[in-house]
């Protein structure tokens, strides 16, 4: 099995550690991983701004770069949701794309569903708050979500629970949006920041030392608010915890 690693553009540029953690974690599990450097971006910023025609070249590139892999794995629920759920609406002729889309998976989803991982070899003796990023939750269905009446499950939570010493804190609102939302973060800056602060105070009241999640974008937004206010809570991508990295 050959896996293509898709690293979201902003993770590549600003959070390389999350990318390295993903790569390390996959390799430790015996997966053959390649990072094709011809990749750039899934196209979501343009697509979510309503400019599908500007997103199309990104999607075409994605298809060309990744079609040859058995699976494509990415440390992002949001970018994977873009590929799996929205590329269809772009009307790209490449026949390889239709077959590729279902093989594109978020990291925890890949560990849980494809590799069948139920426990990881890692230690993280900290109180951790899990931020359930919306696209992972409600588009990829990585967890059951508080709105629906179905048997509760959470793929990410179950993996985190296997980490030695890690204590997951209970949030008052376990799956409310952080307010990042891509261009929403700047277009609706006031509401975006109000939402982010509310998330932080929920984690803080629950006693979290670290906020983690499957999407670095949500964490980037929360980190921006945390750092501005001098709050000592840290953010870490879930891959950084699952591969055993410590808070430096």
């Amino acid at each position: 099995m050959k896996v293509g690693l898709f690293i979201p553009c902003y993770v590549d540029q600003f959070y390389p550690r999350a990318g390295l953690a993903t790569l390390t974690l996959l390799e430790r599990l015996g997966v053959e991983v390649e990072f094709p450097t011809a990749q750039t971006c899934c196209g979501q910023p343009m697509f979510n701004s309503g400019m599908a025609q500007l997103a199309r070249p990104c999607a075409a590139r994605f298809a060309a770069v990744f079609a040859r892999y058995d699976h494509v794995v990415s440390p992002s629920g949001s970018c994977v949701a873009m590929v799996r759920h929205h590329y269809e609406e772009l009307g790209i002729a490449d026949p390889a794309l239709a077959g590729l889309r279902p093989r594109v998976l978020e990291l925890c989803e890949f560990l849980h569903d494809v590799l069948g991982v139920r426990a990881v070899q890692a230690e993280f003796p900290h109180k951790v708050g899990l931020h359930q990023s919306c696209h992972g939750l409600r588009e990829l269905r990585l967890a059951s979500g508080s709105e629906r009446v179905i048997a509760p499950f959470s793929k990410v939570r179950s993996l985190l629970e296997s980490v030695q010493g890690l204590q997951l804190v209970d949030l008052a609102r376990p799956d409310e949006c952080c307010g990042f939302g891509g261009t929403f973060a700047v277009g609706e800056e006031a509401v975006s920041c109000a939402m982010g602060r509310d998330r932080i105070s929920d984690h803080q009241q629950a006693g979290a030392e670290v906020i983690t999640g499957v999407d670095m974008s949500c964490l980037m937004h929360l980190e921006g608010l945390l750092r501005r206010s001098g709050n000592r809570i840290r953010v870490l991508h879930v891959a950084e915890i699952l591969c055993g990295d410590r808070v430096p």
């Binding site: 500007l54 709105e147 409310e176 277009g187 920041c193 109000a194």
Partner: protein, 458 residues
Amino acid sequence: MNHPEKARTFTADAARTAWHDQALWFIRQKRDRAVSQVPEWEELRARAAAIKAHAMSRLDHYLELFEARATANGAVVHWAADGPELCRIVQGLLAARGVQRVVKSKSMLTEECHLNPHLEAHGIEVVDTDLGERIVQLRHEPPSHIVMPAIHLKRAEIGDLFHEKMGTRAGADDPGYLAEAARADLRGRFLGAEAGITGVNFAVAELGAVVVCTNEGNADLGTALPRLHIACMGLEKIIPRAGDLGVFLRLLARSATGQPVTAYTSHFLRPRAGAEFHIVIVDNGRSAVLAQPEFRSTLSCIRCGACMNTCPVYRRSGGHSYGFVTPGPIGSVIAPGRDAREHRTLPFASSLCGSCSDVCPVRIELHTQLLAWRRVLASRGLVSPLKLWSMAVLAWVLRDPVRFERAGWIGRRLLSALPRFLIYNPLNAWGRQRELPAPPRESFRDLYRLRMPRGPKT
């Protein structure tokens, strides 16, 4: 109407924003508890969506069936193409019978069609009898929520309003006392009314009957005494069979307020002896939505308000920030269909978190439709030039991996080197309340190349 600006004004009062958020979240939690008691909840939602999709696909048939059955029952059915026609029909009915005083139960349709100001301009007194509606009517402002019209107001503000308008004790804000005062004030108006206007929650085609749901019994009071009842309904309120009510009534109140059922579910089949029953069926843009497959499912909306209660943006920006009769996610997909230019900021007033789609009892894919509206707006040139330009530049950078890498390198170096005041300039909306990420020296692809001695794969 500019949502971000109105939202900024709303959030400037942080304490009030937190209070508003919590008040609505409380309703969302009540809803969660209520729906968790119904194991077949998801099946009910799917059934409701299917019934509505079916009804909309044969709307002409069911509307004509409804008209025939209602007429056979002794009701008079009127058709209004738009808001002004609804206003003319209702005012004509009232004027022909010399009606001066009207009581009205909750009807978002009449809000949408501006019926109250039209009737008032013709010298007719209209009293909204739903307590929340009455409060906003006395304040001369629109409702901020479709189920809880005065949810934006605190108890003390209502106490002050009632003191001014109804002579309650100054400073009194006990809910029981204030509700009793409103009740006493309204009772006389119910007794004196010459006509009662109601909305319609469901119109059952096979019966020719309309169903009105209230928690205050005000629709019943308002139609029990007057000799004229006018029910106003949007043409999408049609459901085929009486049995379908078993699906929708179970969904409606649980979604709206977390109650198993509304306190009053009133079925109007025929006029009372000696009284008249008129039903006005209003289009006002709905058939145009029917013609758009992408947005057709918005016609399935049963106006429960659950998408507002769950929306993290609505809860922190208030109903009035939307500038449309229906706020929140459902309003943001209906409004641009009425006037895309006027409401062009609404499809962007969402983080696309998708919670609205998951609470919706009729499974309207609200966040997908918000996204679809963004595409429509962009194609009509209704997004800001700045956004268009910045996205075009971004897309150009991302089109080529070498260009992307260089741009990233330059960006990270600039962020490291530039003085803080240049980075956190007034144009940097991200940096107003947030830090930018600390730029690392190497990108992921730099590090990947370093650890791959045989050279990068492309």
